[in-house]
């Protein structure tokens, strides 16, 4: 089974702080990581490959720096990685991003001399947070999709997906090729070893620009290819200055909170 994993390099949103004066995000010094949901996609992809044979190829669109994220994936089981990068791709919303990625996927198939059976994405990127790129890649490629996967299980060469739903999960089968977006897994992604890290470092990561994706229509890329426009951003006021009861007997604290809740007519 040949698998393409789409990964995005994101700032570690755990580390992001808001400047109290300017009310903007402080990104300086914030480490870049592989989008956590994508690490699940990568892990399940590698496990499927280990069982069924084939290749796992990761692709990422972003600046040169995103090669680091690709290297991380190469150190935990991916066979090859491509960076999709061009000034013309900057500023893309999800429609344009997914269009570029879908064209890049076709170009990578050509270069690798294979056809992908499965395209895996994370459920969402923790910076943009839209969860739209996966389904949109599926639409551009005309493939079936399953979103919110909790696990992907191989059955006689076919796959079944545990899809999260309100009261538990749905078991869903699909024709291949297909796009699956992964929300979590019953197991954690593996760690690299020193040896696998060294090997990943040595691997070349080809960069694909619009020149390498001849079929791409540049009018559909970047800001001009993006129907949504971000008009304004602002940081929400989060400090609540709530009441904090400390060093008080549990019983008294509980009574006080209940009184406060009723006095405030919350209940």
């Amino acid at each position: 089974m040949n698998i393409c994993v789409c990964i995005k390099q994101v700032p570690d949103t755990n580390e992001i702080k808001v400047d109290p004066v300017t009310h903007t995000l402080v990104r300086k010094g914030v480490p870049s990581i592989v989008n956590p949901f994508d690490t699940y996609a990568q892990e399940v992809g590698v496990r499927l490959k280990e069982k069924l044979g084939g290749k796992v190829v990761v692709i990422s669109m972003g600046p040169e720096q995103a090669k680091e994220a690709i290297k991380t994936c190469l150190s935990v089981g991916a066979d090859a990685g491509y960076l999709i990068s061009s000034r013309k791709f900057g500023g893309s919303d999800t429609l344009a991003t997914s269009y570029i990625l879908s064209e890049a996927i076709k170009a990578v198939e050509e270069k690798e001399g294979l056809k992908f059976d499965l395209i895996l994405c994370g459920k969402q990127a923790v910076d943009g947070d839209t969860a739209q790129v996966g389904p949109e890649i599926a639409e551009h490629l005309g493939l079936p999709q399953i979103t919110y996967a909790l696990d992907i299980i191989e059955k006689d060469g076919d796959i079944q997906v545990k899809r999260e739903c309100d009261e538990g999960y749905d078991m869903i089968s699909t024709q291949l090729p297909a796009v699956v977006t992964v929300v979590r897994l019953p197991y954690e992604p593996r760690y690299p070893t020193i040896k696998s890290k060294m090997a990943a470092k040595k691997k070349e990561i080809p960069v694909l620009t619009e020149e390498d994706i001849p079929a791409i229509n540049l009018e559909r890329c970047g800001l001009s290819g993006s129907p949504t426009k971000v008009k304004k951003t602002y940081t929400p006021v989060t400090e609540k200055n709530g009441v904090k009861l400390q060093d008080i007997e549990a019983e008294d604290a509980a009574k006080q909170v209940v009184k406060l809740i009723y006095d405030a007519k919350i209940l």
């Binding site: 739209q132 538990g168 008009k231 009441v243 009723y262």
Partner: protein, 334 residues
């Protein structure tokens, strides 16, 4: 694309096995002032099986009229069938705006449809308004795990599409006497056009838990210590008529099924009252509770980040505080 050809605001009403999700009715209430401002119609769109009653309900909740697509192929949600039907409706009627509840199915369907229509989709919105200057919809949404809010518009493409978070808006009053036209559209989807198959639906929770629509949630984290100890939270929940939720650490430990998980990879909730008990307040958890009106945190660590977002905090051992709370609420209710 001639923008002037596109009129009216549509709200997609999600159903499952013929039963509506609340979020559709919430969006009707949220879209009503927008429709008034634009002087246009507010139309409910229902796709499902045996859903004429749902269309009627949507009208009683405030829609001017409804369009329905009813057929056996729509009993369970599939991307292929629903996308085909919704795209066909949009192409025929040309709505100016289309809103979809940001449930798992809504966020599966939305991007598939917007991409086929080559229009913009704003994700997971928590506020909607009409931009005074341009008359476009201004969609506001949290990004960066809730650290940054963004207002987004789709000025040159139609329809303007957005998915909107459940439980951010309240349902309007149900007016039984209200009437409106219900238009039936025949759109059939052949079996081989649907490329995914539901093999089985596995329920992991005894009764249906619906965190998104719960008014009060009592959530526990790793600090609760064990599956058995969740009984303390259940007792509190019973007194309050609340639903029990949890952090991901609890799901990972196997103490609770995933359907109870609140947060970025679980449910986004918006209750009147949220209890975070033995939960540290990681950003991925907090991302799921930003819509809660009031947050009560109980934690033994005075520096736990959960206290930054709590309205009321008790620093203490949950094994003492939670039973005390249960008793105090009991006494108050008596």
């Amino acid at each position: 694309m001639n923008l002037a050809d596109y009129k009216n605001i549509w709200v997609f009403i999600e159903t499952e096995c013929g039963k509506p999700k609340n979020v559709g009715f919430e969006l009707i209430n949220a879209a009503k002032p927008l429709a008034q401002e634009k002087g246009c119609e507010l139309i409910a769109v229902v796709i499902g099986k045996d859903i004429e009653g749902v269309a009627k309900d949507a009208i009683c909740y405030g829609a001017d009229s409804a369009i329905i697509v009813d057929g056996p192929e729509y009993e369970y949600y599939t991307t292929d069938a629903f996308a085909k039907a919704l795209v066909a409706l949009v192409e025929k009627y040309k709505p100016e705006t289309l809103m979809i509840g940001a449930t798992n199915n809504g966020r599966d369907l939305g991007p598939r449809v917007s991409c086929r229509l080559k229009t913009g989709l704003t994700a997971d919105c928590t506020a909607i308004a009409i931009d005074e200057e341009t008359g476009n919809v201004a969609w506001t949404r949290p990004t960066f795990g809730g650290n940054l809010m963004a207002t987004i518009m789709c000025p040159e493409n139609r329809p303007q599409m957005g998915t909107v978070r459940p439980a951010v808006f309240k349902k309007g009053d149900y007016d039984e006497a209200k009437t409106g036209e219900i238009v039936k559209e025949e759109i059939t989807v052949a079996a081989d056009e649907i490329r995914t198959t539901l093999i089985e639906r596995v329920k992991e929770v005894a009764e249906s838990i619906n965190l998104e629509e719960a008014e009060i949630i009592v959530s526990g984290g790793r600090g609760v210590g064990s599956q058995e100890n969740f009984q303390l939270l259940q007792d509190l929940a019973d007194v309050l008529g609340a639903t029990v939720g949890c952090s991901r650490a609890v799901v990972d430990a196997g103490w609770m099924p995933h359907a109870h998980q609140v947060g970025q990879s679980g449910k986004t909730v918006a209750p009147k009252l949220y209890f975070a008990i033995g939960i540290s307040g990681a950003i991925q958890h907090v991302a799921g509770i930003s819509g809660a009106d009031t947050i009560v945190a109980i934690n033994k660590d005075p520096d736990a980040p959960i206290f930054d977002v709590a309205d009321y905090g008790i620093v203490g051992n949950l094994n003492e505080v939670v039973p005390a709370l249960t008793e105090a609420f009991k006494a108050q209710k008596a």
